[in-house]
Symmetry: C2
Subunit: 156 residues, 2 copies
């Protein structure tokens, strides 16, 4: 839809950027939207949203260990107080399951089901393929971006 647009000036139909820093801010916001749009289209084939996929990936990282809702939330790319409801939808699809915590009755333990693992495997392959073919980035450039973004967020 808007995906083949490249230059920020074209993407936002504007060249009124105060300075390079202002432009970089908008460029980061726009690029994030662009990445999410591309990925979401692929995830949709598997009936998953971006956030649902993020939760599944986090659970995969600890598998087969269960995780409590809070631990999932603080690992998400976009922190959200909505984790219980994202999990609700994954439970309905039987991709994860809930269990009571034996140590702390306030906590809920979440874990991937076999079905969740299966879908995640296929989906991740597809998403990785898509990213490799869409995101044009040399390792050295990526490393530079990583340094600069962390600097931007206030390197301490």
């Amino acid at each position: 839809m808007y995906i083949c647009i490249v230059k920020l000036e074209q993407a936002l139909q504007s060249n009124k950027f105060k300075n390079e820093v202002h432009k970089a801010t908008l460029n980061i916001l726009y690029t994030a939207w662009w990445l999410k749009t591309i990925m979401s289209a692929e995830l949709k084939e598997f009936g998953l949203t971006h956030e649902q996929y993020n939760v599944l990936r986090i659970l995969k990282g600890k598998y087969p260990t269960q995780m409590c809702v809070k631990d999932i939330g603080c690992r998400m790319i976009e922190k959200s107080s909505n984790v219980p409801r994202i999990i609700d939808r994954l439970v309905i699809k039987k991709l994860v399951k809930r269990a009571d915590s034996p140590v702390d009755k306030r906590e809920t333990f979440i874990s991937l089901t076999q079905s969740g693992i299966a879908i995640l495997g296929v989906t991740t392959n597809k998403v990785n393929e898509l990213m490799e073919s869409t995101v044009v980035m040399k390792s050295q450039d990526a490393a530079t971006i990583n340094v600069l973004l962390e600097k931007l967020r206030g390197s301490e």
Copy 2:
């Protein structure tokens, strides 16, 4: 809340990045969320959401010329089919007004009210101040980010 976290490893509580490109992708998504969170907190003081502010800024760029809904939409950072409803809320707050297009009866013309201009002035000052004090970025680094992000999106 999570705002003082800097390194991506800390922010996502993970160091399982496939490679620098994968990490850069997550870093861009996380940084965009971080920027939006900071800005939204400031905008909230003025009763505005991030998207509402974006629409007001776009209208300001063409002021006093009116803009149709489609033109506003394609200039937004996050393209959305939801522009009519964002405008609805701005109309309720009397920050913008709708008018019929004399040329094409399908179009709606939107323009800033005096109240909209006033709020936008104050808000923009505050947001700029906030950004200057929060986003640590030299002009040269910002320029590098701009080049690399546009390269990433597929420089043609």
